[in-house]
């Protein structure tokens, strides 16, 4: 794993020693090379043998997420080029350093063996994200957004620290590989309920669960494009990844304790999808759609069947790519008209037809069109929840309908119809933007041919 981590750390000197003409080229090319080195990780043998050292390991759950993280870094760098054009050199380098440090922490989080190390790095990802949102966001609401983001996550995760230490003392070790063999069932007194809650709430806030999701629209909307991309694509998946890792020690309480959360998720799915239909702010629409998709992932993880775990992992990867692509598209709009209101830039298909293709593809994957992996994820989750309880099909089916509704609403609002007269002088699409969209779309399309690499632990 050091072969990925040390080059990522070495990107720091690359940033600070590049001169002003070479900085973007250097960054993008070296992070793409790190991508290439991470690709062999996807080749997982089934017997959990990828244990690199005492500290790092990778299995079929963490390797797709790791791949997503390293794939996203060059995309973030490409997406940030425009809005950083006017900044001074030091500020550009600082921004890129924040991105690199976030990347470093994320790679280590996804490959950590010891759960306390996972916790420390999970919290460590907060600091660069906070700095990116608060320092480089565009409106005054970004200050509030940063505070909400930081404090919601911290209040959820401090009980997790106490719970992890308690589990380490009672179980003997928090090394994940050891825990797989040594786990004991949690006893049933009421204090185990509190322990279960303490372990889960951190990830519920991160996912986010419907009642605790207030930080997400604020943070996603106020963040600059790289911040939005990494938040939507990777940081939310940290919650799912943590929950999937901790389900071993949380048995058999989950059967009883999961009910309120499943209820909140099913209801929250429909609620947040419906709110999407009434949004005027484009980024806010995509943010609420993230909440809705992640609610499906929470339902899947809490149900703990093999198919639901497969669906959860596939949905996480698919949603990461789709959501990040939608934010890039929204940002391409924002860079031209400096507003996120959907009403102001309509009928863009007449001006930017290639971008309209990307909008179409992104909206289609967002509404889980076959044969993309979004559908595979959602279908597995819906089938598993149907077998768990037949009533849930009403809500998940309704959610799929409303997801289709708002995705097509977003598409037709921005692309189709009569254009507004004031947008006749927007610049045509840059090659950089088209590359960005295609680099999001290509993994989505290619994973359709071999989805087993993203199916996770229980394939």
């Amino acid at each position: 794993m050091l072969k990925i981590i040390i080059p990522t750390i070495m990107l720091f000197p690359v940033i600070w020693y590049s001169n002003s003409t070479m900085i973007w080229i250097n960054m993008t090319s070296y992070s793409l090379m790190i991508n290439l080195m991470t690709l062999p990780l996807l080749n997982q043998a089934g017997n959990n043998s990828n244990n690199f050292s005492l500290t790092f390991f990778s299995d079929s759950l963490s390797s797709p997420l790791l791949m997503l993280t390293v794939w996203l870094l060059p995309l973030m760098i490409m997406a940030s080029q425009h809005h950083l054009m006017k900044e001074s050199m030091t500020r550009k380098k600082l921004y890129l350093s924040m991105l690199i440090s976030l990347q470093m922490f994320l790679i280590m989080t996804f490959s950590a063996t010891e759960l306390i190390l996972f916790y420390i790095l999970f919290e460590a990802t907060l600091i660069p994200t906070l700095i990116i949102i608060t320092r480089w966001g565009n409106q005054t609401e970004r200050l509030n957004a940063g505070l909400y983001f930081l404090f919601y996550t911290l209040i959820g995760s401090l009980p997790l620290l106490v719970a992890l230490i308690y589990v380490q003392i009672s179980l003997g070790s928090l090394n994940y590989l050891v825990m797989n063999i040594w786990f004991q069932d949690m006893s049933s007194p009421w204090s185990s309920n509190l322990l279960w809650l303490a372990c889960i709430m951190a990830f519920m806030v991160k996912m986010p669960l419907y009642g605790l999701h207030l930080w997400l629209p604020k943070a996603h909307v106020e963040a600059p494009i790289a911040g939005s991309m990494v938040l939507a694509a990777v940081l939310l998946k940290l919650g799912g990844y943590g929950m999937l890792r901790l389900t071993i020690i949380l048995n058999p309480m989950t059967k009883i304790m999961a009910y309120p959360f499943i209820m909140l998720c099913l209801w929250g799915m429909i609620m947040t999808s419906s709110i999407c239909l009434r949004q005027t702010d484009l980024k806010s629409l995509i943010a609420y759609s993230s909440v809705s998709h992640m609610a499906l992932v929470i339902v899947a993880i809490l149900m703990q069947t093999p198919w639901s775990f497969m669906g959860a992992t596939a949905l996480m990867i698919a949603h990461g790519l789709t959501s990040s692509m939608l934010f890039c598209l929204a940002n391409s709009n924002y860079e031209r008209i400096h507003s996120r209101t959907m009403l102001l830039a309509r009928g863009l298909q007449a001006f930017l037809p290639l971008m309209a293709t990307w909008w179409l593809l992104a909206s289609l994957t967002n509404l889980a069109l076959p044969p993309f992996i979004n559908l595979i994820g959602e279908l597995f989750v819906i089938m598993a929840s149907f077998s768990w309880s037949s009533v849930t099909i009403a809500m998940t089916g309704l959610n799929m309908l409303i997801t289709a509704l708002y995705s097509l609403y977003m598409l037709t609002m921005t692309q189709r119809g009569k254009f507004t007269y004031h947008i006749h002088n927007i610049k045509p699409s840059y090659t950089r933007e088209n590359t960005l969209m295609s680099m999001h779309m290509l993994p989505l399309i290619m994973l359709t041919f071999n989805p087993k690499i993203i199916m996770g632990l229980t394939y």
Partner: protein, 349 residues
């Protein structure tokens, strides 16, 4: 103050604390505390303003009361157990244990005897405030570490919990930086004392990291003599590197991973959990977030936003810095980047 006088006074302060730390006879410990208190009074009144006199008076009154309580406890203990060593205090003697804790926590500035800390720290200059919040803690903590086996842990845990609460809530309404750092000191003292009866080496660890961070904060504030949040918001114009260092130091003081300030909180939570004090650990951890909130407010006004400044140019002319900042760089690195070295700290004993 003239240099020979300053030297004598500083040496006396040093002697007082050293005397307390090396003795095992209660009388000498008390003498050391008195020497320390008397010789810091001229330092507090160094800049000859009525506010400083008020601060010095408040400091003198509380510390003298605490010393008298300590003397009472010493004599009472000598009367009842017949000996004057620190390690043999009888924990079953309720008067002795209670008044000992009251005296020492009054010296340290913990709840419910914390009211003097913000006002005294506010009334003196920045460097004197640093002396107050760092050096003055050493003597009482060394006494408590010598006698930790005979302290009533319930009372101490209660005082520690209240200190964390008061330190968090009290600092929320402050804009004066010295008062913010005073409330931060109250909260950190709470963390230190919570673990004293279980594992005093962790108290030492927390004390060391807290001392480093406080020295850094005061030194950086002293560079431009920033005493309010408003003046601190002009810092980006004068020295942006100090802005970044304040960001990292405040995040470390608030206890965010992966900075070193997280380490004391982590090991203290671990020790408390091992001793079945899980509720206490959780409550203290969550209350520390209040501290983090007002540090975040400072960070927002300093580093993450660009406040309007009095001058019209982007960067002021950079003069040579006149204020001495000894050891600032190594201390910053030590207090923010050494979390991976945490196994090393287990050798601290």
């Amino acid at each position: 103050m003239k240099l020979p006088i300053l030297t004598i006074v500083m040496t006396t302060i040093f002697t007082g604390t050293m005397l307390t730390m090396i003795s095992s006879h209660w009388l000498l410990i008390w003498i050391g505390l008195e020497i320390n208190m008397l010789s810091i009074i001229p330092i507090l009144t160094k800049n000859q303003k009525p506010r400083s006199t008020e601060a010095a008076t408040k400091y003198f009154l509380t510390q003298a009361t605490a010393s008298m309580l300590l003397m009472f406890t010493i004599v009472f203990n000598a009367m009842h157990s017949g000996q004057w060593t620190t390690t043999n205090i009888d924990p079953n003697n309720m008067i002795v244990s209670l008044t000992m804790i009251i005296a020492l926590t009054m010296k340290l500035g913990m709840t419910p005897f914390h009211f003097w800390v913000p006002e005294v720290t506010q009334g003196v200059s920045l460097m004197t405030g640093m002396l107050l919040l760092t050096w003055q803690k050493l003597a009482p903590i060394s006494i408590m570490m010598q006698m930790f086996t005979s302290i009533n842990s319930i009372i101490l845990l209660l005082i520690a919990l209240m200190s964390v609460l008061v330190g968090g809530w009290g600092g929320l309404n402050q804009t004066q930086l010295r008062k913010i750092l005073a409330y931060s000191s109250i909260a950190h003292m709470g963390w230190m004392m919570a673990i004293l009866t279980f594992c005093p080496s962790l108290t030492m660890l927390n004390l060391l990291i807290y001392l480093m961070l406080t020295i850094i904060m005061f030194t950086m504030l002293n560079m431009n003599t920033n005493t309010t949040t408003l003046t601190l918001s002009n810092l980006w114009n004068k020295s942006p590197t100090i802005t970044m260092m304040i960001l990292i130091s405040l995040l470390s003081l608030g206890g965010l991973p992966p900075l070193t300030g997280f380490l004391p909180k982590w090991v203290i939570i671990q020790e408390l959990t091992k001793n079945n004090n899980i509720a206490m650990a959780t409550v203290m951890a969550i209350m520390a977030l209040l501290n983090l909130y007002f540090y975040m407010r400072l960070i927002y006004s300093t580093s993450l936003t660009l406040f309007p400044t009095p001058n019209n140019i982007k960067m002021k002319w950079q003069f040579q810095p006149k204020k001495r900042s000894l050891f600032l760089s190594p201390l910053i690195i030590l207090s923010t980047l050494t979390l991976p070295l945490s196994p090393v700290f287990s050798t601290l004993n």
